[in-house]
């Protein structure tokens, strides 16, 4: 297990560091306490500071972590991440992260360059946050029976605060719907994913790095509202999945999709049902009863914890339950 994790880290994560920094990271990672490597969720690289390793939401202390990241390390790391091709990652850099091979996401922070109040690019980058993605089979096992009724998938909104496991659950539902779930009477579905932030499928060079199922068509890095219409027209999906909705345009596109008979699965940032109602785009969808199920995840305990599930009329379907086995495994992106 440790061998696999180590090999994957070497091949997909440490490879984005320049050699001297990579050696430092290798030494530090090899001195992590047992089990910490498997739970590693983030590596934080900040100029002038030692490397920091986040395991299961908390920073793990590492002995002899005294190497401070230099400006040259940061510059070289950016060149490796961007493959010396800022033009090829323009939109991602503008959004503050780049998705790399393996579906991992490297966030970056520096000075934002604005044009008419809109971020054009980032300059003088001083820190990176490597978020390690994992395939987490079974993460949706608690949610699945709630969103498949009489062998048919229901339109579902997965809501929760950042880090609560929304994308992980969506990805897992995507895979399950694409494969079909015979025990729930769900036949395999044609799934369309509009992956604006490359988080669901984690496409790298057009190839999904996460397992999203065999009948899944992905529109990567495409704006959600436009992408949903494109997929409906071009690919005729049974199920449409997209991440982090919230604008009026998103709401209009989802209502259009619903009218077209497509089941929509989406996620949204919210800490409570009241939060959802306060956002104009989402409240419009709730008023129109566009979602048959609204699943609220909690970030207060372990990621993947289901706080509540409501039906389209807003009736709660259950009390608070933990994601159980899914919880730990949903700790990735």
């Amino acid at each position: 297990m440790r061998g696999n994790t180590w090999a994957r880290l070497e091949a997909e994560v440490l490879v984005y560091m320049p050699q001297n920094l990579r050696r430092v990271a290798q030494n530090l990672l090899s001195s992590l306490p047992p089990g910490a490597l498997e739970g590693l969720s983030e590596i934080r690289v900040r100029q002038g500071m030692p490397l920091a390793f986040m395991c299961r939401g908390a920073e793990t202390p590492v002995p002899q972590n005294d190497y401070c990241v230099s400006q040259d390390d940061i510059a070289r790391m950016f060149n490796i991440i961007s493959a010396n091709s800022v033009h090829a990652h323009e939109e991602e850099i503008r959004a503050g992260y780049v998705t790399v091979k393996g579906g991992h996401r490297i966030g970056m922070a520096g000075k934002a360059v604005l044009d008419r109040g809109r971020v054009q690019t980032l300059r003088h980058i001083r820190s990176f946050n490597i978020r390690i993605a994992r395939d987490l089979p079974g993460a949706s096992s608690v949610v699945l029976p709630l969103v498949v009724v009489s062998g048919r998938p229901l339109a579902t909104l997965v809501a929760g605060p950042p880090g609560s496991g929304k994308t992980t659950i969506l990805r897992e539902l995507c895979r399950q719907f694409s494969n079909g779930v015979p025990e729930l009477g769900l036949r395999p579905q044609n799934v369309g994913v509009v992956d604006e932030r490359s988080e669901i499928a984690g496409c790298y060079g057009g190839i999904p790095q996460n397992d999203v199922g065999p009948r899944t068509d992905i529109l990567d890095a495409c704006p959600k509202a436009e992408g949903m219409m494109m997929l409906i027209r071009a690919m005729g999906p049974d199920v449409l999945i997209t991440d982090e909705i919230g604008t009026i345009e998103d709401a209009v596109a989802i209502l259009e999709a619903t009218v077209a008979g497509v089941v929509v699965l989406a996620s949204a940032h919210a800490s409570s049902r009241a939060d959802l109602s306060r956002r104009p785009g989402l409240s419009r969808l709730l008023d129109a009863r566009a979602f048959g199920r609204i699943v609220l995840l909690s970030g207060s305990r372990e990621p993947g914890t289901i706080e509540q599930v409501w039906d389209a009329a807003g009736e709660p379907l259950l009390g608070s339950i933990a994601g159980g086995a899914a919880g730990d495994r949903a700790a990735g992106l």
């Binding site: 320049p18 510059a75 790391m77 950016f78 493959a83 010396n84 091709s85 090829a88 323009e90």
Partner: protein, 177 residues
């Protein structure tokens, strides 16, 4: 007497051939510069398309260009790609200038051509599509000027060098006889 005449004829022939070859060599160098410049200009136009419309990463775009180029240009693009791949985060401008420095030693290009191409290095790969396109268009403009100048030199001096080779050889024959 006959042997001496034979030597004179042979020597004259050798001088004429040498003069013609020297003239052709000089003319060929001019034509070679023109052909490399034209090829490089077409490659840069293609690079604009790769960057603007395909958003291809630099190393992939340069590899594409290399497959469509011959000899000098191909070797240069492949050298940049090699440095980018092995460079441990080496900036594109360093890869471009290092490869260009090596190319300049054996290239048919003039030093002014090399200087113009070198100007692209600092901008390469470090900005968005629009900005990259502007820098490339600017290089293409400069290359057009070099191509025009190389074409004029080739057509004017090419014939001159070829004829001069023969004239000089003929003159030497006359003087030696």
């Amino acid at each position: 007497m006959t042997v001496r005449l034979a030597f004179k004829i042979l020597g004259s022939g050798f001088l004429l051939a040498s003069g013609a070859l020297a003239g052709r060599h000089l003319a060929k160098a001019l034509a070679r510069r023109l052909s490399v410049l034209e090829e490089f200009q077409v490659a840069m136009e293609r690079l604009v398309t790769e960057i603007r419309f395909s958003s291809s990463p630099l190393h992939e775009a340069l590899e594409e260009l290399a497959t469509a180029c011959r000899d000098e240009c191909r070797d240069f693009f492949l050298a940049v790609v090699r440095l980018l791949r092995q460079g441990d985060g080496l900036p594109a401008k360093a890869a471009w200038s290092d490869a260009l420095e090596a190319w300049a030693k054996s290239s048919a290009l003039a030093s002014t051509d090399i200087e113009s191409i070198a100007l692209l290095g600092p901008a390469l790969g470090s900005s968005g599509r629009e900005d990259q396109s502007k820098h490339l268009e600017s290089l293409i403009q400069r290359l057009r000027v070099h191509v025009d100048e190389a074409r004029a030199r080739s057509s004017k001096l090419g014939a001159f060098y070829r004829e001069m080779g023969l004239y000089v050889a003929s003159l030497m024959i006359l003087l030696l006889l």
